[in-house]
């Protein structure tokens, strides 16, 4: 452990032969090499850790950095790259972004203390992937200009009516799509988490996001789930479905004992 560095902890994972090889040469936050921390007894649960400079990750620095979108993106992508590499070879329990310990020994203590809780959750997530499913309603099209014979007042009312109708149709279509997605989920998914609707500058659209959910799906059902979700908006106008993944089970990496964040 270098002086002035902290142990950035990406994930807890089930140990596997392939994991040692995967982690060798794996680069984490700030370009630092990732390594595994084992429990005192060795064995089935490990943590993926890399060292980060204390001056960037102590409490004050972290609060400041997380407000900087460029810094946040670099951190998020580095974190994600490590999670994906681990997920490719074993079951992974991603930790919340920027979980930092004083040193590897502290990480080991956490592994020792919570080994059974971690193992329980890893068992539950084994052989599952997460899919993100988002529904969008198109912005209402510009209503056609009403006949010039109409008075300005009536023309205005008719245009407003047309816009409202088109918006109502789109939301009705979205409801129908949401029902179909629920039906697909009942067949394939074992769990669901609802994320906040996406808006703001980072939301790329097009359209207005009306649902943003994550589904936990067994690996062998992942393809049919995706295919059926993509069909959920068939023959529905004004509504669009977007599926992302498969993700490591970020949205389902929770522990029983944990309080609400």
């Amino acid at each position: 452990m270098t002086a002035g560095s902290l142990a950035y902890t990406y994930a807890v994972a089930r140990n596997a032969d392939a994991l040692r090889q995967t982690v060798e040469g794996l680069i984490g936050v700030g370009g630092a090499p990732v390594h595994l921390v084992h429990t005192t007894q060795g064995g089935d649960v490990v943590a993926a850790v890399s060292h980060v400079p204390e001056e960037d990750f102590d409490e004050a620095a972290l609060s400041r950095h997380l407000e900087d979108l460029e810094w946040l993106e670099a951190l998020a992508r580095a974190h994600h790259r490590v999670i994906e590499a681990i997920a490719a070879c074993t079951t992974v329990l991603p930790l919340r972004l920027a979980t930092v310990y004083l040193d590897d020994n502290r990480v080991r203590t956490v592994l020792d203390d919570r080994r059974d809780v971690f193992l329980g959750r890893l068992r539950r997530l084994a052989g599952h992937v997460e899919w993100g499913v988002k529904l969008y309603v198109d912005a209402p099209p510009i209503a056609p200009t009403p006949s010039p014979d109409l008075s300005p007042g009536r023309a205005y009312l008719r245009r407003r009516r047309a816009e409202q109708d088109s918006r109502q149709d789109a939301f009705r279509a979205a409801e129908r799509a949401a029902e179909r997605i629920e039906a697909v989920a009942r067949v394939y998914a074992v769990d669901r988490v609802r994320h906040r609707l996406q808006e703001g500058e980072l939301a790329v659209g097009p359209g207005v996001n009306v649902s943003n959910d994550a589904y936990l799906v067994p690996l062998d059902q992942a393809d049919p789930f995706r295919a059926d979700i993509l069909r959920s908006t068939d023959s529905l106008a004004g509504v669009r479905v977007d599926i992302t993944g498969p993700w490591a089970p970020y949205s389902f990496a929770t522990l029983q004992e944990e309080g609400a964040p």
Partner: protein, 81 residues
Amino acid sequence: MTTTGPLPARPEAAAVPQRQVALIDLLDRLLSGGVVLTGDLVLSIADIDLVRVSLRALIVSVSEQNPAPQVLSAPSRRRQP
């Protein structure tokens, strides 16, 4: 630039090896998903309200200096079985 590594059974893995996930989808997961470890062993995470960070980063326009008050009261995450 970061690219994503392979996950088991990713249908597009072979075809689109350079796929980069959208930052907004990633932040949904990294700032509201993931195991939260609390206690005195955790140096910093417990004292930083990531939901607030996430709201600023994701919802409030990055170029705006002032957070919109109606946004800060938005629900962060609902969970259903």
